[in-house]
Symmetry: C2
Subunit: 223 residues, 2 copies
């Protein structure tokens, strides 16, 4: 597949290779399988070469996590952008694709929301995401869609605003609504992949009930 141009340098592009093989290792063999020596072996290099590209293992893992989030975003994106199907269908499918991604790649999903970043995030927490306030306080939704970054959470917010503009959803703070939706999806995914639910054999059914409950709390009026 990816025959790198091995002509260029010592190894080629070690930095990217490290990130991607680490990502694949996490996905297939779990987080504990990742050791710097094993990583180096698989790439035919030596353990310490890593330190020419990353400050340490943790710095590498952060990059891996970022790449993992890209995969997650890529898995859900089609359902955000498919403008042909009705909004609620997209909304429904987006949720399914999210939970499905988690259950099909449990190791990867656990990494994304796992303990690697948690300490650091706790510190940075306050200053984070000031850009969201722009969305929150922007009055027109059309304008927001343009300025929103391609982050999945932002896309979710814009979909909610869209649904509010179409008088489908109640006019609640869209960011808080998005938070509730994300919480439900994230919690459900985590509980399933960690085996805390007794009904994890039928993920689809569990999701449908969750979706139904959530939706009835979101829609504007009942028929």
């Amino acid at each position: 597949m990816k025959k790198k141009k091995h002509t260029s340098y010592h190894h080629g592009n070690l930095k990217e290779s490290l990130i991607h093989t680490a990502l694949d290792m996490v996905d297939k063999e779990g987080l504990e399988a990742i050791t710097l020596r094993e990583l180096a072996n698989r790439l035919g290099t030596s353990r310490s070469a890593i330190y020419r590209h990353f400050e340490g293992k943790e710095a590498l893992m952060k990059q891996v996590i970022l790449a993992g989030f890209d995969r997650l975003d890529a898995a859900i994106e089609p359902y955000f952008n498919n403008k042909e199907s009705p909004l609620l269908e997209r909304f429904h499918a987006m949720g399914i694709s999210y939970v499905t991604f988690a259950t099909e790649n449990p190791n990867l999903y656990r990494l994304l929301f796992g303990p690697v970043m948690s300490k650091e995030r706790e510190e940075v927490c306050e200053t984070e995401r000031p850009d969201l306030h722009k969305i929150l306080h922007g009055d027109s939704s059309a304008e927001v869609i343009e300025t929103a970054p391609d982050d999945s959470f932002h896309k979710l917010v814009t979909i909610i605003i869209e649904a509010q503009d179409q008088e489908i959803f109640k006019k609640e703070d869209p960011i808080l609504i998005a938070t509730a939706i994300w919480s439900l999806l994230h919690g459900l995914s985590m509980l399933i992949i960690d085996g805390h639910l007794s009904i994890s054999d039928n993920v689809q059914a569990v999701y449908e009930v969750n979706y139904k409950i959530l939706l009835e709390g979101l829609v504007r009026s009942h028929s």
Copy 2:
């Protein structure tokens, strides 16, 4: 507080001491702070003594996790059992106490749902919790309340059944409803303590919106 009877044996009761000091260490200093040597030092014993009581570090951590779940259960229990206040108030307070427990003890909460048990749970997942099916297929709710174990999830299920009996909640599968509620609470807790939300400075407000959305999807009819 807990002056153990140091007269009895070599150390006294090392097994329980290990579990409880480990639990406190996780809570105050994080999971990474736990090393067998440090644990042994704090208890004035030697590192290898641990292996007379546990198969290894992982076995010890599993016991720590069980003790941690007891703390979580104890933190929410008052809101389950306070029979004087109306059911919806108990329901509301229970959710707040859950999220509050998580945000006030982030290290502990992360441990409970963290990576220690995840692999094992994946294997045991299918055979787990057959007792829940009894609740699901029991027709009378009063009978269920008696037979339910003191697990928090079971209590949640019984409260839902109670609300259904009082015609407050819709008659949906109570286990699936409980799953949805737990997912929301768990997801919200995790996202907050890991700093994924931009609004984590006002936990209460976030919870209220989540609760409102969830409740409107649960209640039987709108006024």
